[in-house]
């Protein structure tokens, strides 16, 4: 990966792995990345809500991102991380398989989701675009949809 200076148009993205695919979220939404800790199951919640965790004294919901995206589940490993993101004042943890790096993606290398994924996952539009960095594909997530602010929050 070539080091370069970031220009204004570029989006900086925290890239992470889910199964064998690479995903990314806007770095401005990311608050911190934590190792897997105790997560308390919460009854009567959608199954993609893994539960709640303790983040320095605050209770934070945690989403199992693979379940949310209907990917095949695997047991957690040493590399499993929780990415804490904040969207519209709501903080949420997302469990991912591994965090890879921070990427800068220029607007010209992002393709609209329709071009890539037809119909999308389960009819949801979780994907805001796909970044193509020398044939390395980074699927950009639309966080507000992931969290479920606009659809079935409960």
């Amino acid at each position: 990966m070539s080091e370069k200076t970031y220009s204004n148009d570029e989006v900086q993205v925290v890239a992470f792995k889910l199964a064998r695919e690479e995903y990314g979220v806007d770095i401005l939404n990311v608050q911190e990345i934590k190792k897997l800790t105790d997560i308390t199951r919460v009854p009567y919640t959608p199954d993609f809500i893994k539960g709640v965790m303790n983040l320095r004294g605050s209770v934070l919901p945690v989403i199992d991102l693979k379940k949310r995206l209907s990917l095949v589940e695997e047991p957690y490993s040493e590399d499993t991380r929780i990415i804490i993101v904040k969207v519209d004042d709501i903080s949420v943890g997302m469990i991912v398989d591994a965090v890879t790096e921070v990427l800068a993606i220029g607007p010209e290398s992002i393709e609209a989701p329709e071009a890539v994924v037809d119909g999308n996952v389960n009819g949801n539009n979780f994907i805001s675009g796909v970044g193509n960095l020398n044939n390395r594909l980074v699927i950009m997530l639309k966080l507000s949809e992931i969290i479920g602010l606009n659809s079935e929050a409960k």
């Binding site: 800790t37 105790d38 997560i39 308390t40 199951r41 919460v42 009854p43 009567y44 919640t45 809500i49 539960g51 709640v52 965790m53 303790n54 320095r56 004294g57 605050s58 209770v59 934070l60 919901p61 004042d89 709501i90 903080s91 949420v92 969290i147 479920g148 929050a153 409960k154």
Partner: protein, 686 residues
């Protein structure tokens, strides 16, 4: 100036000052001659004027300005306090409140201040209808005027000694009169800058008014300073004029006329001739300094203490951080024990004490005295008793009792309800009272005090009380209870019927002794705060409403229970008892599982099933634990695997994303950092 960032502060401070105005005006009604009360009122009005002008609310500034004029006349005793004036000022305060609230809600207030302004102007001209209840003492009046108007710098022995010493070491004493420009908005800030400027070139010995008053903007356009410096007069003048918004500076060199005792002591100074000066400075021995202006009310002001305004959210996050600290400490403790590090363990013990203190301090910081809610009631009682033509004396006790901020915010409305009821329906008209052989003036008491982990608030009156038979009759009539039930009821139970929803309707107010206006609303509000309300009453002797509130909503006592691998917290307030049963003790009635407890049939809830707790292998044997809980009259037994123990827990929300999950009331963080969910017993039982 961009004033938006000051908006919050402006609103809060205005409200505070309006509250002060209200209570001081009430005080003034009782003691029309107390100069300290008048001063306090003047200060508050003045501050509001200053702030609103800064913020660009000219109407508020205009109204307060006129108020100030009237108040100033009162202060100088050129006008006597009478009912008309007090009423008018009360009206002004009300109007100001309206305007401030409309600013807060960002709506047009549409309040016309012109009539009030006119009224104030006419009062200031002395056209108010004089009412006889003010009996000013003429001597005192002249005295006061003498003091206020002269306003020249009085020096006491110490000052003179300092000045003399300064003079011998070649420093020049000056008396400086500084006049700020009319348009100066932040006079205290300006005064501060002036002081700083002077400090750089010399030493300020004394100011008139004293520096505390300068800081609080408690002065008119000008103030005076006694100042010593090695610099020339011109230099002083120049320095001062360079400060902006200073309209005029008079610098006079000060010669010291020395009192006779001083002459003897300081030979060399006497040669400087004790001439009285062209300036107004006069020297008086300390005893002669009049202290009358700073009357007895002054200590009241001091009592308030120093305080800082803090956003409640910041306190919450502080509390979170302290909680996290405690958790980390526990972890360190574990490390110390497992690795047998005695030194570490000892240090952690020290730390333990500190964190415990820290935690309790943080909790205390969130506490607010109930006085904040109580202080609006004297005004309300005054207005209402006039309206109702009753004579009522409101006594408030224990206003320093502290409650959690969240509780304080909620408790106001229920109390208003209770007090209104007491005034309206409890206390009788004076003639009626006299006929009953009571004092014409009714007593209403509002009392707050601590009782264990609770705060008790009582609203008491010595009115006609509640007649249980009338209440029963009404309840039966409304179909809330059957006639048989009513017959079985004792008086206490009957009186509590007023808390039933549906009991209170308009016609009840007039027919019965009146209680019942939204009493169910009051009760549900109190209960939502985790409190209880009860009533005691005796016919013709009065009634007493007793509210019991938890100190805080943020921390509760809870029982931790284990269900398979998961831990849940059940609020102790809901728990009756815990019992140990075997599987055989569970019976079924129409396919519903129940147990018998002391002859009572109690339905049981298997928590593991209700919460879909994933099974673990280590299923316990035949023995089960049942936590018997209640909600109102209903009871239920919750079956759990194990009881962990009772613990104080800090309630936290699950966040915006997970609101409204049934059965779960919130979450808490356990000592090991794990999150445990708090059960909502109410919904669990449905």
């Amino acid at each position: 100036m961009d004033t938006n960032q000051y908006m919050g502060m402006f609103l809060e401070e205005s409200r505070e000052h309006l509250q002060t105005l209200n209570s001081c005006l009430l005080e003034l009604e009782h003691n029309p001659e107390d100069p300290s009360v008048l001063n306090e009122i003047f200060r508050s009005a003045h501050t509001i004027k200053g702030m609103s002008a800064t913020m660009g609310y000219t109407e508020i500034a205009e109204l307060t300005h006129e108020m100030e004029n009237v108040l100033d006349l009162l202060r100088k005793n050129q006008l006597k306090v009478n009912e008309d004036i007090v009423d008018t000022i009360f009206k002004c305060v009300d109007t100001l409140e309206q305007m401030v609230e409309s600013i807060a809600s960002e709506t047009e207030h549409g309040v016309d201040v012109s009539t009030l302004v006119k009224k104030l102007v006419s009062i200031a001209k002395g056209e108010s209808a004089p009412v006889s209840n003010a009996k000013p003492e003429v001597e005192k009046a002249t005295n006061n005027i003498g003091v206020i108007q002269k306003n020249s710098v009085e020096l006491n022995d110490t000052d003179i000694a300092v000045l003399n010493k300064a003079k011998t070491s070649g420093l020049q004493p000056f008396e400086i009169k500084i006049t700020l420009s009319e348009t100066c908005l932040l006079k205290s800030a300006r005064a501060y800058i002036i002081m700083n400027a002077l400090d750089e070139i010399g030493e300020v010995i004394k100011t008139v008014p004293p520096s505390e008053d300068l800081e609080q903007e408690n002065f008119d356009q000008s103030f005076e300073i006694i100042f010593i410096t090695s610099n020339e007069k011109a230099k002083v003048q120049e320095t001062l004029l360079s400060v902006s918004e200073v309209a005029n500076v008079e610098v006079n060199s000060l010669d010291i006329g020395v009192t006779e005792e001083a002459v003897e002591k300081k030979q060399e100074v006497t040669t400087a001739a004790p001439v009285t000066l062209p300036t107004e400075a006069k020297i008086a021995p300390a005893k002669a300094v009049p202290s009358k202006v700073q009357g007895p009310g002054m200590d009241k002001k001091v009592k308030g203490g120093q305080s800082v305004r803090v956003d409640i959210e910041k306190l919450d996050s502080l509390l979170n951080l302290v909680g996290e600290l405690v958790i980390n400490k526990t972890r360190l403790e574990q490390i110390g024990i497992t690795h047998r590090l005695t030194e570490l363990v000892e240090t952690i013990e020290q730390m333990d004490r500190v964190t415990t203190d820290l935690q309790s301090v943080v909790m205390k910081v969130r506490m607010v005295p109930v006085g904040q809610v109580f202080n609006r009631f004297p005004r309300m009682v005054r207005d209402l008793s006039r309206e109702l033509n009753k004579e009522i004396n409101l006594t408030i006790e224990g206003e320093e009792t502290e409650l959690d901020r969240t509780v304080i915010d909620e408790i106001g409305d229920p109390l208003v309800h209770l007090i209104r009821n007491s005034l309206d329906h409890g206390v009788e008209h004076p003639d009626e009272r006299i006929a009953k052989g009571k004092e014409a003036t009714g007593e209403v008491r509002l009392i707050a005090r601590h009782e264990g982990n609770n705060v008790i608030i009582m609203v008491e009156d010595d009115g006609k009380g509640i007649n249980p038979n009338v209440i029963k009759g009404k309840a039966v009539e409304k179909g809330l209870i059957s006639q048989e039930d009513a017959d079985k009821m004792d008086d206490n139970e009957a009186v509590r019927l007023v808390f039933l929803p549906g009991f209170s309707t308009a016609d009840v107010i007039t027919d019965v002794s009146g209680r019942g206006v939204g009493m169910d609303v009051v009760r549900s509000k109190i209960e939502s705060l985790g409190g209880l309300i009860d009533v005691e009453t005796k016919i013709d002797q009065g009634s007493k409403f007793k509210i019991r509130l938890p100190l805080t909503l943020a921390i509760i006592q809870a029982l931790l229970v284990k269900v398979h691998a998961e831990i849940y917290a059940i609020p102790l307030g809901n728990i009756d008892s815990t019992i140990n049963i075997t599987l055989d003790d569970i019976k079924t009635i129409q396919n519903k599982e129940v147990i018998l407890l002391r002859g009572q049939i109690i339905p049981i809830i298997r928590l593991a099933d209700v919460l879909n707790v994933p099974e673990t292998n280590d299923t316990e044997g035949n023995e089960l634990f049942v936590v018997v809980v209640h909600m109102g009259e209903q009871k239920a037994g919750i079956i759990v695997d194990n009881l962990i123990g009772q613990q104080e827990i800090v309630i936290k929300t699950l966040g915006n994303l997970l609101t409204g999950i049934k059965v779960i009331a919130g979450a808490t963080i356990l000592g090991n950092g794990q999150v445990a969910l708090i059960l909502d017993v109410g919904t669990l039982m449905q």
